[in-house]
């Protein structure tokens, strides 16, 4: 153990340690004394000064909330504006018996049970010192009668403020979205983004749609005023003033008139419509029917209205164009056809003999064509014009799922388009890897066959179908779909053009594209599945009908619409573009439980195109009797 001088002397170390511990104890006491001295300085020597600041002449920093930017359509029609309205606000802390006071208030102006409910909810979410609205949008008469009785209601105040208003309510609810009162969760989010300072004093924040995704542009920069106020909070004088900077205005590419035309063309049907300019990705119309009144949400929706919206069987809160996923059905076929040509599995001349079904080698299972007995001799052109299923069953079998997946995913199936409103879903383009991950099952050859006609696991949103059709009609070029055309300074009017939205161009053979497009133009001519909708059009238009199955039909059974509940009927689909040779507009129409694409979806598209090219106002479709199941 003895290593001489180098061995540690533990006793000496312990003594040194105790000395150092004592020194640190002195240090602790010294610094605590320093703190105490600081407190003495603040609370005793300068106590009066700070008491003055806090009590007699409180310096308050009053945030000046900027005006929210306005939203216009492409022709300058206003879609979201700020109205001056009067609200009756209560500071709960200043009212001794709130329930009694509100009962008394109800004798002067109308207070409904919903108003009370909403107010109580706000009370739970805020401190009792905050001024909270019990009634908004007071009429002039109500303002006057309260003012006359004001002395009876201490702690209540009429406040004028700007309230967001959406003049077109249901029509644009799924595009513009709405703003709502800032919640605790929003505050947390704002703090994480270091934006909390800018929201001091703000009451609202974008919740969905354009209002949410362009919140940064629309909100503006909060100004502030350093002011002296007396005990009662009354303004004494202003010390400094930094004005707020109003939010930027947005000009959308949306055409309000076209939107109205599209919405009325639907008549009583539910569904979605997306119309886009194929040369730049600008959205021209974006319908999801039914919509809802976004004005209900601005100051917090009451319980009754919320239940009506949330529990409605029509699901008005569901944005069908953006988030509704449907099997694309036969609208998938043009992409299959192009895959066959590009990958060398089909020539334009090659024709099959359609017996009305397809069976995999060694299997009894019949994949049936929609037309019992089949279409006879079918080549690529005819396969699209009459929407032959058997042709695509065979093509899918020849291509194989991996080729199909690789080629068709280039058109945006199975991933988000990146449109500038939140909540988009990706849809689904199935692959063996996906199936293994999702179901822990290997891929069966039969799965490939259903995918070939856009059924099976296939799911796409109306927006995605529009995007894919754009690439087809655009010689392979994809633009990012977007709503906002310009962002402009609300005062100077100076505008910032949005950046170029071109995404990519697929390397496709001109010849093949032309052949597919020719066939799609044939769909709306006599003999095509949308011939009726295309009759006597003053312009050329191309399209593809589709039917999206809602329930499965058993082997050997037939789909008879009249036997099936209305909500279980097929969804009708139609993708279209016009003029066929140089498209100015691309469109997807989805009619929920509309039966077949040719009979309901295509006529709606025709009406909207008639308005777009000729200015003809649509005659709404009435809930028609549904035919059997032609495409």
């Amino acid at each position: 153990m003895n290593h001489g001088i180098e061995l540690r002397n533990h006793l000496r170390e312990l003594r040194h340690f105790h000395i150092r511990l004592t020194i640190s104890a002195g240090f602790v006491v010294l610094l605590f004394c320093l703190l105490l001295a600081r407190f003495f300085y603040l609370q005793v020597l300068r106590g009066e000064h700070y008491t003055t600041l806090a009590e007699a002449n409180r310096i308050s920093i009053v945030p000046l909330v900027p005006n929210r930017g306005l939203i216009f359509d492409r022709n300058g029609e206003i879609l979201a504006e700020n109205h001056t309205t009067y609200a009756l606000e209560i500071v709960p802390d200043k009212v001794t018996n709130l329930e009694v006071a509100i009962d008394e208030l109800a004798t002067v102006i109308e207070i409904t049970a919903e108003d009370r409910q909403r107010f109580n909810k706000l009370r739970r979410e805020n401190t009792r010192f905050q001024s909270l609205p019990i009634r908004t949008r007071l009429s002039d008469v109500e303002v006057a009668s309260f003012a006359a009785n004001h002395y009876r209601f201490p702690g209540m105040e009429i406040k004028a403020r700007l309230l967001r208003h959406y003049p077109h309510a249901e029509l644009l609810s799924h595009v513009i979205g709405y703003i709502g009162r800032i919640s605790d969760k929003d505050l947390e989010q704002l703090e994480n983004n270091n934006e909390l300072e800018n929201y001091r004093g703000s009451l609202h924040i974008g919740r969905t749609g354009i209002e949410q995704s362009y919140e940064r542009e629309l909100h503006g920069v909060t100004g502030f005023e350093e002011a002296e106020t007396d005990v009662a909070g009354r303004h004494v004088r202003t010390l400094s003033h930094t004005p707020p900077v109003a939010g930027n205005d947005l000009v959308l590419s949306l055409d309000l008139k076209l939107q109205q035309a599209a919405e009325s063309a639907f008549g009583d049907y539910r569904g979605a419509l997306v119309a886009m300019d194929p040369t730049n990705g600008e959205i021209l119309a974006f319908v999801s029917k039914p919509g809802f009144d976004p004005n209900l949400f601005v100051d917090g929706i009451d319980h009754l209205n919320w239940r009506l919206l949330n529990e409605s069987i029509d699901k008005p809160l569901n944005n069908r164009a953006l988030r509704g996923v449907y099997p694309p059905g036969s609208t998938f076929k043009p992409f299959m056809a192009l895959a066959g040509l590009e990958l060398g599995k089909r020539t334009f001349q090659y024709a099959i003999n359609d017996p009305g079904y397809f069976s995999l080698p060694g299997s009894q299972h019949r994949f049936r064509d929609w037309k019992p007995g089949g279409h006879g001799k079918v080549d690529l052109h005819k396969s699209l014009v009459i929407s032959c299923d058997t042709y695509y069953y065979m093509l899918a079998n020849d291509l194989g799922i991996t080729n199909m997946f690789n080629f068709i995913s280039q058109f945006g199936f199975g991933r988000k388009t990146g449109i500038d409103i939140p909540g988009e879903v990706a849809g689904l383009l199935p692959s063996p890897e996906w199936k293994m991950k999702r179901f822990k099952q290997s891929w069966f050859p039969g799965d490939t066959i259903s995918v070939g006609i856009g059924q099976g696991y296939n799911l796409a949103t109306p927006l995605q179908l529009t995007f894919a059709t754009m690439i087809l009609a655009n010689n392979g070029t994809a633009y990012r779909p977007h709503f906002v055309k310009q962002i402009q300074n609300s005062i100077t009017g100076r505008s910032f053009e949005k950046k170029n939205n071109q995404m990519y161009t697929l390397d496709l053979k001109k010849e093949n594209l032309m052949r597919v497009n020719n066939a799609l133009a044939g769909v709306t001519r006599p003999g095509g599945t949308a011939a009726r909708a295309g009759a006597n059009a003053a312009y050329t238009f191309a399209g593809k009908t589709g039917t999206s199955q809602v329930i499965n039909i058993k082997q050997g059974e037939r789909y008879v619409a009249s036997k099936i509940q209305e909500r279980h009927r097929d969804h009708a689909l139609f993708t279209a573009y016009a003029p066929a040779e140089d498209p100015k507009i691309i469109m997807t129409v989805l009619v929920e439980n509309g039966g077949s694409g040719g009979s309901t979806a295509a006529p709606i598209a025709r009406q909207v195109l008639d308005y777009f090219f000729l200015g003809k106002t649509p005659e709404p479709l009435l809930t028609a009797n549904i035919n059997n199941r032609p495409h």
Partner: protein
């Protein structure tokens, strides 16, 4: 009844009652102030009670770990901490422009919190295992142990945590007997490096915070707002305070972060200089008890760990109160045992658990 007594004894045999009493008093004050600071919200208070129960459970577990085990944990804990920090640097999630969080599948963790305990343990272990008289080389080695995590954390960037860990590491060096001359040298070096640090290593927002400490009116709505409003709160509290739930600064929402980092301003406004004095005394009592435990610690390892934990606790108290009363820059340091929040509470009580274990376990190895 005897069984109950036995059971009670079994569960509390490693608890230091004096220290636990102080901790309970401080946490109780915390709840009382939190109720006022959150405008009478019981949900915040009950959330904090849950945090406290969790932290106390952690503390109880640690008190049951004998000293030898704690010592054995030092190296693995340190290595795990460093690995996680490197993980953060490579795969961490960015929030608020800083890369501090690591997603480990089940939950997100902030490894820098682990290092607050692991670094002093590791350094103390390193000093303890040396058989011969400590030389400058040993201190240099310990400094390297300290610098590695500090640099990794400072790069995230999380300057506040990096500084706090440096401080707790420095306390280990100090208690291990680093010569006064070397410490003076370090101080001079730090003083000369600071200007370089200012112009090259600091981020803009960090510089802004330091600048506003000297002149809060520079930026009244932003960084300076905190200091102006908390000074008004403390000053207007006067000698006796405005009374519980009667502080206008906090109740009218002039105070920022009033239930977390700035909760002391609420306390100070409502309970005045008298309350402040009593609170300082209470903290002093807890620190004093910790120092007695430190003085009685049986081995060099436990002495160094206990000393570092004690002084680190003090540092938190001092830095927080200094920042709220405007003599230190605004850095995100909570007031121990009083501020709302679970993470720092767990780290604090973990430290106290180690101290209690040092005090109550049989001192087998007396040196």
């Amino acid at each position: 009844m005897i069984e109950f007594k036995q059971l009670w004894h079994y569960f509390t045999r490693y608890i230091d009652n004096f220290l636990l009493g102080g901790i309970f008093l401080l946490m109780l004050i915390g709840l009382v102030v939190l109720y006022s600071a959150s405008g009478g919200s019981l949900s915040r208070v009950s959330g904090q009670i849950l945090n406290m129960i969790a932290a106390l459970a952690v503390m109880w577990l640690v008190t049951n770990v004998p000293l030898q085990q704690i010592m054995r944990l030092a190296l693995p804990l340190y290595i795990a901490g460093i690995t996680l920090l490197i993980g953060v640097a490579l795969f961490g999630e960015i929030q608020n422009g800083a890369r501090r969080w690591l997603n480990i599948g089940i939950t997100r963790i902030q490894p820098s919190e682990l290092l607050k305990i692991a670094v002093p343990l590791m350094m103390a272990w390193y000093f303890d295992k040396s058989e011969i008289t400590l030389r400058l080389r040993d201190y240099a080695g310990a400094t390297l142990i300290l610098l590695l995590p500090v640099i990794l954390i400072a790069r995230q960037p999380d300057l506040g945590t990096a500084l706090l860990i440096s401080t707790s590491g420095f306390y280990v060096l100090y208690f291990a007997g680093l010569s006064w001359r070397v410490m003076a040298g370090l101080l001079v070096t730090a003083g000369s490096v600071l200007p370089l640090f200012w112009s090259f290593a600091m981020h803009d927002y960090q510089r802004k915070r330091v600048l506003t400490m000297f002149d809060p009116s520079q930026d009244p709505l932003g960084a300076g707002y905190h200091t102006i409003q908390s000074s008004i709160a403390i000053g207007s509290g006067g000698i006796a305070g405005k009374g519980w739930q009667k502080g206008t600064q906090s109740q009218l929402d002039f105070l920022p972060e009033q239930s977390t980092d700035f909760i002391f301003a609420v306390f100070s406004e409502e309970f005045g200089l008298i309350g402040n004095g009593l609170l300082l005394l209470l903290y002093l009592a807890v620190i004093g008890r910790c120092m007695i435990i430190t003085a009685n610690a049986p081995t060099q390892f436990t002495r160094l760990v206990a000393g570092s934990i004690t002084l680190t606790f003090f540092t938190y108290v001092f830095v927080n109160m200094g920042m709220v009363s405007g003599i230190l820059p605004v850095v995100g340091v909570p007031l121990p045992l009083i501020s709302y929040g679970g993470t720092s509470l767990v780290t604090m009580l973990l430290g106290f658990g180690i101290l209690m274990s040092i005090q109550t376990h049989p001192k087998l190895v007396k040196t």
